[in-house]
Amino acid sequence: MELTTPGVATLRRDPDQRALGDAETADAALAASGDGRAFERLYRAHVARVHSLVRRMVGPDHADDIAQDVFVRAWTKLATFRGEAAFGTWLHRLAVNVILARRTTLGTERSRYADSADSLDGVAGRPAAPELSMDFEEAIGRLPDGARQVFVLHDIEGYRHEEIADMLGIVSGTSKSQLHHARMALRRHLER
């Protein structure tokens, strides 16, 4: 079954995964009481997803540092995890918060959301033959910051425009517009 809950759109829940979810909730409880092994199990289970989210949102240069920050923050906040949602959902939202908090330090500020159509066209307008086979991930990485973050949060992570607008401090219309520009730029890099 595909869940439609924002932020967990990519999580599918079947009986095995429900059992896994219970195991992770138990690990989270153990980790909250200081069990380092339990926390390492949670780290191993989620590091790929967290790292991928960070890499797509801020690029590869700072991905390792910020992914570490996410898990350090998770360790300090474990007591606030009540088990009402899946641990992965809780961690994912925490990761988004850590990433967004780091945007300022990394120079990705709100003004960047006024990405000009020119800069987006620049991503799309490289029609040389090698670009056609450009890795889709790499093409996402070449989007301007604002368009890239909205695209990642909406199309990859499943958040709604209203949530994205709230997280990024923009209006919903800007989020929709950025998403459309990002998609228009990326269609040039589809597999032919």
């Binding site: 990519t10 009986p15 095995d16 429900r18 059992a19 896994l20 219970d22 195991a23 909730t25 138990a26 690990d27 409880a29 153990l30 909250a32 009481s33 200081g34 069990d35 380092g36 092994r37 339990a38 926390f39 390492e40 780290y43 191993r44 590091v47 790929a48 997803r49 790292h51 991928s52 890499r55 991905a63 390792d64 992914a67 570490q68 898990f71 350090v72 360790w75 300090t76 088990g83 889709f136 991930e137 996402i140 695209f151 199309d155 990859i156 425009h161 929709k176 517009s177 998403l179 459309h180 998609r183 228009m184 990326l186 269609r187 589809l190």
Partner: protein, 220 residues
């Protein structure tokens, strides 16, 4: 080619247009090859995005994370109980007291000819099931759980209520995971993942009970 409808195609794709807007756009699509092509490409972009695989970092970040949260080695947990330190004279005095108490107890037992119920040593590691298979109805598992639960119950009054609540909440979570695994195994007894998962949960229950018993004992 771009027209007045091109910039609305994503909203159409996401089902965010109003009824009249949707009707108008669909009418336009019927006669505009360019917009149909663009819509198809946008749809493929969305499909690609949803199909992206997550990739782990090229280097293992765990050692750095562990160091930053104070886990000095890979398998060392953050200490849960207060650390005690004693001076040499204190240790010597404690030894004398222990020897006197042991001698006195032995003398009493010999004199009365009765065998008192041996105390449960909550700080002693019970014969570990950690490396043994655990399964529902395993007598050793049940016996250890019962022993540890008695030890925790005895020391419960010495724990503060917040600690007791955390322990009980965690036990409920683990018990729920055990029941869930048992129920899934009833339908699929040969499922190796479920068997492993159940064994892990049972081991976790023992670990938590041991920690709780040690904590209760350490504060006595």
């Amino acid at each position: 080619m771009k027209d007045q409808w091109t910039d609305r195609l994503s909203e159409y794709l996401d089902g965010e247009l109003t009824g009249p807007e949707r009707t108008a756009l669909e009418a336009h699509l019927a006669s505009c090859d360019g917009c149909r092509t663009t819509l198809d490409e946008l749809r493929r972009v969305v499909t690609n995005a949803r199909a992206l695989d997550d990739r782990p970092p090229t280097a293992d970040l765990w050692p750095a994370v562990a160091a930053r949260i104070g886990l000095s080695s890979r398998f060392k947990a953050r200490p849960m109980v207060r650390r005690f330190s004693f001076t040499v004279p204190e240790v010597a005095a404690a030894s004398v007291v222990l020897a006197l108490l042991s001698g006195g107890a032995a003398w009493l037992i010999g004199r009365r000819g009765t065998v008192p119920t041996p105390p449960v040593l909550v700080s002693e590691r019970a014969p570990a099931l950690l490396n043994a298979p655990a399964y529902p109805g395993d007598a050793r598992f049940d016996a250890q759980v019962a022993d540890l639960e008695r030890a925790v119950a005895r020391g419960r009054g010495r724990l503060d209520t917040a600690t007791v609540r955390v322990i009980e909440r965690n036990l409920r979570i683990i018990d729920r995971a055990i029941r869930s695994a048992q129920s899934a195994l009833a339908a699929d007894p040969a499922n190796s993942y479920l068997n492993l998962h159940l064994a892990q949960e049972m081991r976790r229950k023992l670990e938590l009970l041991r920690q709780a018993a040690t904590l209760a004992g350490a504060r006595s």
